[in-house]
């Protein structure tokens, strides 16, 4: 593992910079390991509201690369449990913050991957999730009341992981998704909003979990998703927008659910994802030349993984 030193420019100048033709897994593992260490960084504190999500992103990327052991299990579980908000009955993104649906899903996902779901009071968590459904069928992220299909997906996914989908008002949930469907076959964040690849993933993902793919116009949506590929191989989230590595996951995972990944040029997309790697410090950026972050690192690695299988 003498490929690089992660921060020192002096260190990297004397070493050979690896080519980005392949996935630089060892470097990405190092990059993720180092993320938790820079707690003196301002960015670290400005992103406290996403801490648990970030751990989920980093850990999932490690698991995909077959390196789940690269982060300490006990420390991770301990941190997750410190995010428990006992007043609300859900998980916050950071110890001392308020419970939120996004972080509650991350906590459940991490605990399942670590085989430690027995640490939580499933009944209370389920109650917290169900309490956030609005009369329209959509979900709120927390008691503050922000609503959108992201939170609906979080609720459906979390309930499914907790084997509690039977407690959900599925008809109302599906009706909201039907109301979010647009003329181009895509879905938006709320009723009336424009189709957007990340929202397409959450809506289609929720419908797939609920066994209601009959709601989706698969041919039109598959075509709309395929249209997201640009001549440079990257994918965008809406027509006439820039490509971004995160759509390798949003678009591809939706296409995988529709079993239509083969409709795009996979080779060109792989090349695009790989070109967004940081060959010195590790990690993947939104597009070539930008700073990497853990969010895009997961979505790059996950996109790559979907394309390989």
């Amino acid at each position: 593992m003498a490929l690089t030193s992660t921060t020192s420019p002096q260190g990297s100048s004397s070493k050979e910079i690896p080519s980005t033709d392949t996935l630089l897994a060892d470097l990405h593992v190092q990059y993720i390991q180092n993320l938790g260490k820079s707690t003196s960084d301002l960015t670290y504190h400005l992103t406290a509201h996403l801490r648990l999500n970030a751990i989920y992103w980093g850990y999932t990327a490690l698991r995909i690369m077959g390196r789940g052991d690269a982060l300490d299990r006990d420390e991770m579980i301990d941190f997750v449990m410190r995010c428990w908000d006992d007043a609300e009955g859900g998980f916050a993104a950071h110890p001392g913050h308020d419970a939120h649906l996004l972080s509650t899903l991350s906590a459940i996902q991490i605990l399942i991957m670590q085989d430690a779901l027995d640490r939580i009071d499933v009944e209370r968590v389920v109650k917290f999730i169900l309490s956030l459904q609005a009369p329209s069928g959509v979900f709120m992220g927390d008691k503050w009341g922000e609503e959108d299909t992201r939170f609906l997906y979080c609720a459906v996914s979390a309930l499914s992981l907790l084997s509690s989908l039977h407690l959900l008002d599925q008809e109302r949930t599906v009706q909201y998704l039907i109301d979010c469907k647009n003329y181009d076959g895509g879905f938006g964040s709320v009723i009336g909003a424009e189709s957007h690849a990340a929202r397409v993933f959450v809506c289609v993902g929720a419908l797939a979990i609920l066994g209601r793919m009959d709601v989706v116009d698969e041919e039109t949506l598959g075509w709309w998703l395929a249209e997201r590929q640009l001549p440079n191989g990257g994918l965008n989230g809406r027509p006439e927008k820039l490509e971004d590595v995160c759509y390798s996951f949003w678009v591809l995972s939706a296409m995988a659910i529709l079993k239509k990944v083969g409709w795009i040029d996979e080779k060109k997309l792989v090349a695009f994802i790989l070109s967004a790697q940081d060959p010195e410090g590790g990690g993947i950026a939104d597009r070539p030349g930008d700073m990497p972050d853990v969010f895009h690192t997961l979505f790059g690695v996950a996109g790559e993984w979907i394309l390989c299988f």
């Binding site: 400005l46 913050h97 308020d98 939120h100 191989g233 795009i264």
Partner: protein, 350 residues
């Protein structure tokens, strides 16, 4: 501005509060480099939320945190609760938010806070002006557009302008009046703005039928002319072609009803064609347009597939082949799928 103010730990009016430090996974061994100011404010914020205090100084504190980190949703949430608890002026809050929103357009919380304020203030019309101004900064901002759609759906529905006491609080028709002109101005600025096309669909087809729009036949004709004109200006604009598909689908009109219009866009430019005759129903491609248009070729193939005779299908297959091998090679596999699929359907029908 918060930058010039002393730390909360140095202010006498905060001396009664004991700050609460953030819990960390690892105790930082290195000296703390991150902003003292942010750390100081959030330490006091943690103390305040623990005590449950809701007072004017909490508004000042949360504003300082939000300005430093607009994604801090707990600060937003607590701020809103404090505004309500202290009976603060929500109109003043909205004014303050105008400035913060423009600085942080991509932050979810900025927009949710506005929704909460508007739900209570119930003055939607000036918001439309505000959104217009904000879209000037970022013409495709997803949050801004969906906020506009929320505003129109929430306050623009039948009966929405009548309050609990049965009084009309604002003019419903007035709210919608400028919407089509607004979309038009956005599209004039950038005809490829998909958000604006989507919004047009939302206004005309997606959100109820308003006075003056009841004659749907007339509305449909108007929209057809509008979208065709825009396609003629930029024949390779997928958003406009999608809008055309959208209005045909929503009115259950066959695709073939526009074949005369589509045809000239599927071929290389015809140098002998005259542009002197103005045909509103079938405007020709503009001078210098890049032809054939991929979207037009796709469209024509769909028309042929919809017609469905063997010779139609064979023609469609030829078009798909040209897309796969020349015009849209990146989606070669999709076009090959269309060819296979059409052949299978043809076989099955025999």
């Amino acid at each position: 501005m918060s930058e010039t103010k002393p730390l909360y730990s140095k202010r006498p009016e905060w001396s009664d509060v004991v700050p609460v430090e953030q819990y960390e996974i690892v105790n930082p061994v290195a000296p703390i480099f991150y902003s003292e100011q942010y750390k100081d404010a959030t330490n006091y914020f943690r103390a305040i939320t623990k005590m449950g205090e809701k007072s004017p100084r909490v508004l000042e504190l949360t504003e300082s945190i939000i300005r430093q980190n607009p994604a801090h949703y707990t600060a937003w949430q607590y701020r809103y609760e404090t505004l309500c608890a202290t009976n603060a002026s929500l109109a003043d809050e909205l004014k303050l938010m105008d400035e913060i929103a423009i600085k942080h357009l991509k932050t979810y919380q900025v927009w949710h806070h506005r929704r909460l304020l508007l739900t209570t203030l119930r003055k939607p019309k000036p918001e439309l002006e505000f959104i217009k101004k904000v879209l000037h900064e970022d013409t495709k901002n997803y949050h801004t557009w969906s906020y506009r759609q929320w505003l129109l759906a929430h306050f623009g529905a039948d009966g929405a302008s009548i309050n609990k006491d049965g009084e009309e609080e604002y003019d419903l028709a007035d709210l919608w009046e400028g919407e089509l002109d607004f979309v038009d101005s956005m599209l004039n600025q950038d005809v490829r703005n998909n958000s604006a096309w989507h919004h047009r669909f939302f206004v005309v087809w997606g959100c109820g039928i308003r006075e003056g729009e009841q004659d749907r036949e007339r509305v449909f004709k108007r929209e057809l002319i509008y979208v065709k004109q825009n396609i003629s200006l930029a024949p390779n604009n997928p958003s406009a072609w999608n809008y055309l598909r959208g209005i045909l689908k929503s009115t259950k009109t066959p695709l073939s009803s526009v074949s005369t219009f589509v045809l000239p866009y599927t071929r290389p430019r015809d140098p002998t064609a005259s542009r002197d005759i103005v045909d509103l129903e079938n405007p020709p491609p503009s001078e210098g347009a890049d032809l054939p248009s991929v979207q037009a070729v796709e469209f024509l193939a769909d028309i042929l597939e919809e017609k469905g005779s063997e010779s139609d299908i064979n023609q469609a297959v030829e078009l798909w082949k040209s897309l796969a091998t020349e015009l849209d090679t990146i989606r070669r596999k999709y076009w090959e799928h269309r060819i296979r699929d059409a052949h299978l359907k043809l076989k099955a029908s025999k």
